[in-house]
């Protein structure tokens, strides 16, 4: 995605006075943001804007990659060949999304290795939702319906992000994400037409995931110090609370069609607000999971690190092979 590795003429080599002063650069950047313009990798940008984007895009990429694990657990146990093929395709998509996003982050001057190191050392965060276990097959359906549904709510506004490569990556991601949500919902519909045990399994999965999905939108705007700056820069387009409300309003009728209850006694339509009211999210539990004490944090990270280490010889071998081929070509040419 318009890499940083491209050969751009050295700015320092230009005659003095041609290069713009820092103030002028800053003003040009702000003016472009004010007119809802896009920023591209080679454009000047404030350090804080760059840092915020690297953090957000790399966290997003890590979430896609770690997100392969909870569902990957069910590939070998999918109830039919059809469901297995669908799940493999979905998990492969998540891997692809991670790759689009790593590429987008790299345009900001960070390297793939740096980002992976940050993930593997526990320094970088990923979405907390993946630190909960997938206990039954219904969890796979609920992840598609609710987790991916919440992710879509979050991601659609990012297609208009002020940073070009991120926005373009998100357009690709969102196109594919719709399949993820629909396959999950459809799998649940099938289970809800099944035995009482299957219906109970779906309800149990919904009960366990519902509140975690609401927390996915992040803390209330009032407690989210980065939110305002992100909105100002056009990195974020819609606040956490508004997105969460949209998700609740969209999900309630879907739950009715499915025939499940959302586990919130306070959830009801508010005629005056023209929105659903909902209960209190357990933020203490959310933050404990973010800080590393969720049920699966250690397991997820360990699985990720092991996969990376186990693959090291493949990466080395591919590079060694490429070098050997190149040397042979050079020799033949000489």
């Amino acid at each position: 995605m318009y890499t940083q590795a491209m050969d751009i003429p050295d700015v320092a080599a230009k005659p003095a006075g041609v290069s713009r002063t820092p103030d002028a650069q800053d003003a040009a950047f702000e003016a472009r943001i004010d007119t809802d313009g896009r920023i591209e990798p080679q454009d000047w940008m404030p350090e804080a804007y760059r840092k915020t984007l690297v953090r957000q895009i790399s966290q997003h990429a890590h979430s896609e990659i770690v997100g392969m694990l909870p569902e990957g657990n069910w590939i070998s146990r999918a109830p039919s060949l059809k469901r297995k093929a669908i799940l493999i395709a979905k998990v492969q998509d998540e891997g692809g999304h991670g790759l689009y996003l790593y590429s987008a982050a790299e345009t900001l001057g960070t390297s793939r290795d740096q980002m992976l190191d940050a993930l593997h050392s526990g320094k970088a965060k990923y979405s907390s939702i993946f630190n909960y276990p997938t206990l039954s097959w219904a969890d796979v359906g609920v992840i598609g319906w609710l987790v991916d549904g919440a992710a879509i709510m979050n991601q659609i506004p990012l297609c208009r992000c002020s940073y070009g490569p991120y926005a373009r990556a998100m357009v690709r991601v969102c196109k594919e994400e719709s399949f993820h949500q629909r396959q999950g919902y459809e799998a649940l519909l099938v289970m809800m037409k099944g035995s009482d045990a299957q219906k109970a399994m779906v309800q149990d999965a919904v009960n366990r995931w519902w509140w975690k999905c609401l927390a996915m939108f992040g803390p209330p705007d009032a407690d989210s110090p980065n939110s305002a700056q992100g909105l100002r820069w056009g990195i974020k387009r819609i606040g956490n609370d508004e997105l969460r409300q949209k998700f609740v309003d969209a999900t309630v009728p879907q739950a009715e069609v499915l025939g499940v209850t959302l586990p919130d006694p306070d959830l009801k339509w508010n005629e005056a607000r023209q929105h659903h009211d909902y209960g209190q999210i357990d933020w203490a539990e959310f933050w404990a999971t973010v800080e590393g004490d969720g049920p699966c944090n250690r397991e997820r990270l360990a699985t990720r690190v092991k996969a990376h280490r186990d693959g090291q010889w493949v990466r080395d071998a591919a590079l060694a092979h490429a070098r050997k081929q190149q040397q042979r070509k050079n020799k033949e040419a000489a």
């Binding site: 995605m1 318009y2 890499t3 590795a5 491209m6 050969d7 751009i8 003429p9 700015v11 230009k14 041609v18 290069s19 713009r20 591209e40 080679q42 454009d43 000047w44 395709a89 492969q92 998509d93 692809g96 790759l99 689009y100 590429s103 790299e106 390297s111 793939r112 290795d113 373009r168 990556a169 690709r172 594919e176 090291q312 010889w313 990466r315 080395d316 591919a318 590079l319 060694a320 092979h321 490429a322 081929q325 190149q326």
Partner: protein, 98 residues
């Protein structure tokens, strides 16, 4: 076991022709050890849903780009040459479509 000489796979830019008759369009980038692997991976990463009939991969380092700071001097001169557009010329209505 880790030889220090071995590091990250180089970066490649990926261009995909979505259908016969259309141009190749830039769609993203990826890391790969060599061109053959870059093609193979581009297929998996960027064409999982029949998005293409042909792929180009180009080493990112081989691309020379214009400098954004030069945007003004490169592209602004075209702004006052409106006579390069067909709409600059008034043609009587009775001539019809031209």
């Amino acid at each position: 076991m880790n030889t220090p000489a071995l590091k990250e796979w180089p970066l490649w830019e990926v261009f995909v022709r979505s259908k016969q008759g259309l141009e190749h369009k830039h769609c993203g980038s990826l890391h790969a050890a060599d061109a053959a692997q870059a093609l193979h991976m581009a297929r998996d990463v960027y064409t999982r849903r029949q998005e293409g009939v042909s792929i180009w991969v180009v080493p990112s380092a081989a691309i020379t780009a214009s400098n954004p700071d030069d945007k003004g001097e490169l592209f602004d001169p075209a702004a006052d040459k409106i006579y390069r557009h067909p709409t600059f010329y008034a043609i009587p209505d009775e001539v019809g479509h031209m």
